[in-house]
Subunit: 495 residues, 2 copies
């Protein structure tokens, strides 16, 4: 037979910007998603899982540039004899697929349609540290109702969700603002829809988190020297013209009534502004009726993220406890979720405006927060490891793990080469095992097993002999018949 | 302002061969995956989630043909100024990524490495009825050990998994075969490795499930008329030469010992054959020690699926109960899982042979089986719906659903336009609601609410008036304060 020409070996690497998740990283995310799904479900939201692949058309991108077909999304052309195959792409969020699904299935779906969706999305962007091209999103949206009750409900659900996954009351705050109020403020300033300065003002407001009130005032008026010494041109408003925006951003009062009064003043005679204030009032009333006070959900006009994108209420969940950043400075953990109302979701497909409101939770940030607070362990306890002292008696060891598993205890038998006992201990160490079980020929003859409490015991020396290791006080001998009971007892003690 | 030129509306459709999953379809699959993960975890397997995207190189495809870059997989070229960007592709299974991950991270992973993985995979194949281009796989593999204990453990785990998700003992069977035994049989027939007829025999054996013993005999020898009347050429063996293969396929005896004796006879003096028989014997002994009898896991040489692919033990889980097919004929539900040993997993990357064994469960087929048997409902009960009789009292209704949810009861307030009460009832119907709650102004004044048991009650007529509807006997009036208790009582009764 002719020899097959050897191919060079492929490289065992992920594509740039992608990564693998191991063990607890996967399980903990999965548990969190289940917990969140439980809350969403209790609120009447139904699961939706659309496929990862959508037509480029449905995702809302124009036919990709032939030279850069992957701009922003990962896209490819379906093979077709004539080269006219459809362009397909990986979804870049869960909102665009919701729009497509609602437009496609609207006659079969309830109105309003409450749905949640969880899963990876893909971005064809330059990867960076901690910035991956595949990551999870976890969304809940209500489509088909303009009622503020839908927005209030999502804020309440967000609050419940955070507490359910382990963020206690007081460690988070859901803050609510409204785009219509800002529109009212812009109207009060004489900047009507279509005025180019409106966009400038919106862009400037977005910097409020970073530069604060004084910074925004400078940027709205004459300009500002930034931290690096560079001069940033201002929007060119007069101090008087800029005043309503600043009043809006700083209108948070001692209670909701005071905040709403401040906002009413800021929007002056603008009817859209009054509508926005009214919406915030409704949301506040509904939440109060459900028992959600300002310690959980608060009206706060300084929430500016997303104000440019959303059309009505905007909400954001922040974790308010402090952590140390990479330079050892204290800072608030910050935002883990955001959302709001957008009314043009389905219009692209059907021509009809369909009101919708929704929220997205940053699951990986929330997991990081819980690890930061020590609420979940980065590395969980591994399985009980039954060591193999006599290869020919593998069936005995299998019987032990079967007993342990039937009692609900995570357990495995060592399946590597059992010759070197030290390797078995190294393995148990690598597995983060709480307990090792040993039954040599001598133990077998006497009807006993040895149990080693690996948590209680000291670190296992890499080359410890079986004899040295047996001397340690955290090792017990017991009748073989007591195996399950004793393991359960030790595990409970390790709790 | 200049008018923006209108784009034609995008079509709200999935790409060909993709579909959306709604509500219970998603939740039930998710619950099943959780249940399976629980068993895998108890067996010491760790979760692994690799990204959906791999380099084409790592997936084991050669650089795609420029004219058909998507053959078999969905692939695209990373943008690069010079057009030399890497080719990336969506994974087509969970085994190729495991090989890449193990080769990449082998120094950090325990040896042996037990891992499970669950998630969608993508195939660029012609879609058909019930055949989608994205579907779920659910795999468990042990990498880095040649021990038969690894194979036995996976068979036991498969048995436990099926019982955990709701297939009772007696309704399934895990059957085990071994490729080495077949190799021994081929050797005994004088067909050494490299003989072209070996492949012909393997291909023929694959048809055993369909054409049975007599059919395989004809196909191995002189050929056969198939059901359509077409003549299929035979492999051209003599009856004597074909005999050992047929003996192998039909060697199942009354118990494992008898089967193994039959197999020993079929492989004659072949050493590889004897090795295979020995492996089956070891697996049988290990399983017996763990309490897994032939009612759960059985050695059965008629299992031929995958024999061409795997290198040692091969296993398959079949559901043994009968269902009616689309033509109303009784047939066995059939295979829901398969796996086996393959020793060339990592060699492509590292040059070293790494033994591995693993199993894949067809989650969607398993779900279909449970629905078929009535073990899970295709459509679950929806949320309690609190209707809106007075739009201005939305806060009252929100307070009701908050109370219900705090008691762990799935509940929602109607968020559509409340004007037409009939629409609210239609909505509750579409939501598959068990209970509707009604509180009009008159009820409010008297401090009561109405509860309508929608399961007990008759179908709600599409245009029933509130008055007609109230007359029905399945509707109760009670003090507002009893709401949660009464709803809980009715739900428990509906059980």
């Amino acid at each position: 037979m002719a020899k097959v020409k050897k191919q060079p070996r492929p490289k065992a690497i992920t594509p740039k910007g992608f990564r693998d998740y191991f063990g607890e990283e996967v399980s903990q995310r999965s548990e969190m998603l289940q917990a969140i799904a439980g809350v969403y479900h209790r609120y009447g939201f139904d699961a939706l899982e659309s496929s990862a692949v959508e037509t480029v058309e449905a995702l809302g991108k124009f036919l990709p540039d032939v030279d850069r077909p992957n701009e922003g999304v990962f896209a490819w052309q379906e093979y077709d004899e004539g080269g006219n195959g459809d362009w397909m792409a990986l979804r870049y969020d869960l909102t665009a697929p919701l729009a497509r699904v609602y437009a496609q299935h609207r006659n079969d779906l309830p109105t309003p349609y409450r749905r949640y969706a969880m899963g990876p999305v893909w971005r064809n962007e330059k990867p960076g540290p901690g910035r991956y091209r595949q990551f999870y999103q976890c969304d809940a949206d209500t489509v088909g109702t303009a009622s503020m009750a839908a927005d209030a409900e999502i804020c309440a659900m967000l609050s419940d969700t955070l507490e359910t996954v382990g963020i206690p009351r007081g460690d988070y705050l859901v803050r609510v603002n409204n785009r219509k109020v800002l529109n009212g403020v812009l109207e009060a300033m004489g900047l009507e829809a279509g005025d180019a300065k409106r966009d400038d003002v919106l862009r400037t407001i977005d910097k409020f988190d970073k530069v604060g009130e004084a910074g925004v005032r400078e940027l709205l008026t004459k300009g500002r020297l930034d931290a690096s010494g560079a001069f940033i041109d201002g929007v060119g408003l007069s101090d008087d013209q800029a005043a309503p925006v600043l009043a809006f951003l700083t209108s948070k009062g001692a209670d909701a009534a005071k905040t709403l009064a401040n906002l009413s003043e800021a929007v002056g005679s603008s009817s859209i502004g009054a509508e926005g204030v009214g919406e915030l009032e409704q949301i506040g009333d509904l939440l109060a009726a459900g028992g959600y006070g300002a310690d959980r959900i608060d009206i706060d006009p300084s929430v500016v993220r997303g104000l440019g994108y959303y059309t009505g209420p905007v909400y954001e969940a922040e974790l308010t406890f402090e952590i140390l950043d990479e330079k050892g400075r204290k800072r608030q953990f910050g935002s883990v979720s955001g959302g709001g109302r957008y009314d043009d979701l389905v219009k692209r497909f059907t021509g009809q405006e369909v009101p919708a409101t929704g929220v997205s939770i940053g699951v990986d940030r929330l997991l990081a927060a819980l690890r930061e607070k020590g609420r979940i362990k980065a590395e969980a306890t591994g399985p009980v490891v039954v060591t193999v002292m006599d290869k020919a008696r593998m069936a005995d060891y299998q019987a032990m793990v079967a007993e342990l598993r039937n009692a609900g205890i995570r357990a495995e038998v060592y399946l590597g080469n059992p010759k070197n006992f030290g390797n078995q201990l190294k393995y148990a160490d690598k597995r983060n095992s709480p307990i090792a079980v040993i039954e040599g020929g001598e133990e077998k003859d006497r009807g006993v097993v040895q149990i080693k409490d690996l948590i209680l015991g000291a670190q296992i020396a890499e080359n410890a002999t079986l004899e040295e290791w047996k001397e340690r006080p955290s090792q017990f001998e017991m009748p073989r018949g007591d195996l399950v009971a004793k393991v359960r007892e030790i595990l409970a003690g390790q709790g």
